[in-house]
């Protein structure tokens, strides 16, 4: 699909989402959609490093956490303007990604998983131990909120936050898709598919990994910052296994190396998770079992399943041709 066409579809989608609040007035539903957008940004960014870059990055949620705490500390402790802090949280996450990339630059497969996981644990440790600044295990509270000048953020049934989140989603998706279609994105894919060949053709493995990881971190960090400005508190829960599982599921269920797949899965999984939120301990069980079932049936993810479905619909009415041989 040509990029113009894709841009057009993206714009159309954004318009639809922008108009949604006109029909959806329920605060809770709007909140859910905001979560969909936030998780969507994080998941689609993860798709960049994992799906396109082939980097088994298990520190991705730590980048989210870095953004969250960066925003919290900058606004609460330093009194920085929330919007600047939002941008800074993206930068902080990118910096963290660069640091994490250091050891990973030349590792293979499973070792990247282990090191990035270790890195995320390290960040968690740091946050817990520096409790004077970070609130340690209790977390940060009363973080200054994002504010749109001249607009009352509290009485508008989350409309303001909705549009900020949607804006973030739009910007993130646009940048990610641009990245993926640009030579830099192609290099990442080349490295993923056949590392030795790509390197022999002059693609720098280290530089490419660094760039891909940082790119995946920018909007993730900003999503973390938004999370802080929206919920107005930060805790170490975001480093937990629960959120990692949920978001990784979005990437894998949606279909890797699509960006959009993760967004779709974010929509489905967020609503699903909320729908069964009351079930207490049953909830992770159901989610866990569902993930396994979906992976068994659709290892290629929803995106692949959807594409297959679309293809089949497209051939309806046409006679099925026999295979060539």
């Amino acid at each position: 699909m040509s990029f113009l066409r894709e841009l057009g579809l993206m714009a159309a989608g954004l318009v639809v989402l922008a108009v949604l609040p006109a029909v959806i007035h329920d605060v809770y539903l709007r909140h859910l959609l905001i979560m969909v957008y936030v998780y969507g940004v994080v998941a689609s960014s993860w798709d960049l490093s994992l799906g396109y870059g082939g980097i088994f990055n298990f520190g991705h949620l730590a980048l989210f956490g870095v953004g969250l705490y960066a925003y919290g500390m900058l606004t609460k402790l330093l009194g920085l303007d929330p919007w600047l802090a939002l941008l800074a949280s993206g930068a902080a996450a990118a910096l963290a990604a660069a640091i994490m990339a250091g050891p990973i630059l030349r590792l293979k497969g499973i070792y990247i998983v282990l090191v990035s996981f270790a890195f995320s644990q390290l960040v968690l440790q740091l946050i817990i131990s520096e409790s004077d600044y970070t609130g340690g295990n209790s977390g940060l509270v009363r973080i200054p909120a994002l504010a749109i000048p001249g607009h009352n953020m509290v009485r508008d049934a989350k409309l303001g936050y909705y549009y900020i989140a949607l804006g973030l989603l739009g910007a993130s998706t646009l940048c990610l898709r641009l990245f993926v279609r640009a030579p830099i994105g192609r290099s990442a894919i080349a490295l993923r598919d056949n590392e030795e060949y790509a390197v022999s053709r002059g693609i720098s493995l280290a530089r490419q990994r660094l760039i891909t990881l940082c790119m995946s971190a920018v909007f993730t960090g900003m999503a973390g910052g938004f999370y802080g400005g929206y919920f107005r508190n930060a805790s170490t829960d975001v480093f937990g296994i629960g959120l990692t599982t949920l978001l990784l599921s979005m990437v894998l269920l949606g279909g890797r190396a699509t960006i959009y797949g993760a967004l779709l899965a974010s929509f489905l999984l967020t609503f699903l998770a909320e729908a069964i939120a009351d079930l207490g301990a049953w909830r992770p069980i159901i989610i866990g079992v569902l993930i396994i079932l979906v992976m068994l049936v659709y290892p290629g993810g929803l995106h692949a399943a959807l594409q297959a479905g679309v293809q089949r619909v497209g051939t309806l009415g046409r006679r099925r041709t026999r295979p060539l041989l």
């Binding site: 088994f56 090191v115 301990a281």
Partner: protein, 294 residues
């Protein structure tokens, strides 16, 4: 002198724990070739199932019976679990990644399942052997002594199995060339199940070790899993002896570091050293080369 003994004992004890935790993880990695995120929850299950057998509120069996029973039950569970979350994906190019997500999902489900069955309140297991003993002025529980003694025996048995017995050889072979295994008449599917079940049994044992001196909780497996990861990275996965040696070395390092810079900062230092080691030697300290995957 007392300090030295203290450090050594601590290193021996924690090293044994770490080794027992890591060996199951390394087993699955060196044979099936995937990273099993369920490993932590197998430890948890081992502790809880043992509690179910041994607790006077439940079956009230002696520890000597409950321990092997628990290992058997968890092993059987491991057998079944791998059929659902690992076996269907063997042969796919991205099996490592898919197995990560499925085992992660399964572990999340199992952790909460444990909570549902046994409740959130902390439970405790009786020690393997009750009582304490004095060693050069340091008090050490017999439970810890038991662990220090049992672990090398079990690990030695595992090493012998993998390197001297034909079945163990077959287990190692399965990860290296599945087709060649078929052509020699090996039942690859059964071996995957065996590896997983064996790893689960070892994890269960580690869990029972823990349960004897720490309060059990449904989340008790997360931290040991994290630790086991570190051990496996340090030790490399080319050979089962790598993680075993790494476990004791890391425990020694931690014991010394705790004494020097304190308990609080040791984990961070450990991670930092880990990352530094990996930058120099990506395949781990004891590995000859990277395990060829991805």
């Amino acid at each position: 002198m007392t300090v030295l003994v203290q450090i050594l004992l601590s290193a021996l004890f924690m090293g044994s724990l770490y080794a027992m935790m890591a060996v199951g993880l390394a087993l699955v990695w060196t044979t099936i070739g995937v990273f099993n995120f369920c490993h932590g929850v197998f430890m948890t299950l081992g502790a809880y199932v043992a509690w179910q057998f041994v607790s006077p509120d439940a079956f009230g069996l002696p520890m000597a019976v409950s321990l092997p029973l628990s290992m058997l039950v968890v092993a059987a569970f491991g057998f079944l679990l791998q059929a659902a979350v690992v076996r269907p994906f063997i042969g796919r190019g991205d099996v490592v990644l898919v197995a990560v997500i499925t085992t992660l999902a399964a572990s999340s489900a199992l952790e909460n399942g444990t909570q549902l069955v046994w409740g959130p309140r902390p439970l405790g297991l009786p020690a393997l052997i009750e009582g304490n003993v004095d060693f050069h002025g340091i008090g050490i529980s017999l439970h810890q002594v038991a662990i220090i003694v049992i672990t090398p025996i079990i690990l030695g048995a595992v090493w012998l199995f993998l390197n001297r017995m034909r079945l163990g050889l077959a287990l190692r072979a399965v990860a290296q060339n599945e087709d060649a295994c078929h052509l020699v008449g090996i039942n690859v599917t059964a071996l995957y199940a065996l590896a997983f079940g064996l790893a689960a049994a070892l994890a269960a044992l580690a869990g029972v070790f823990f349960g004897g001196f720490k309060f059990m909780s449904p989340q008790m497996g997360t931290e040991p899993l994290s630790k086991a990861l570190v051990v496996v990275i340090f030790g490399g996965v080319a050979n089962i002896s790598g993680p075993i040696m790494a476990a004791y070395i890391i425990a020694l390092f931690e014991a010394i570091s705790t004494y020097v810079i304190g308990f609080y900062w040791t984990p961070a230092l450990l991670f930092a050293v880990l990352i530094a080691v990996l930058m120099v030697k990506p395949e781990g300290l004891f590995s000859g080369r990277t395990r060829g995957l991805a």
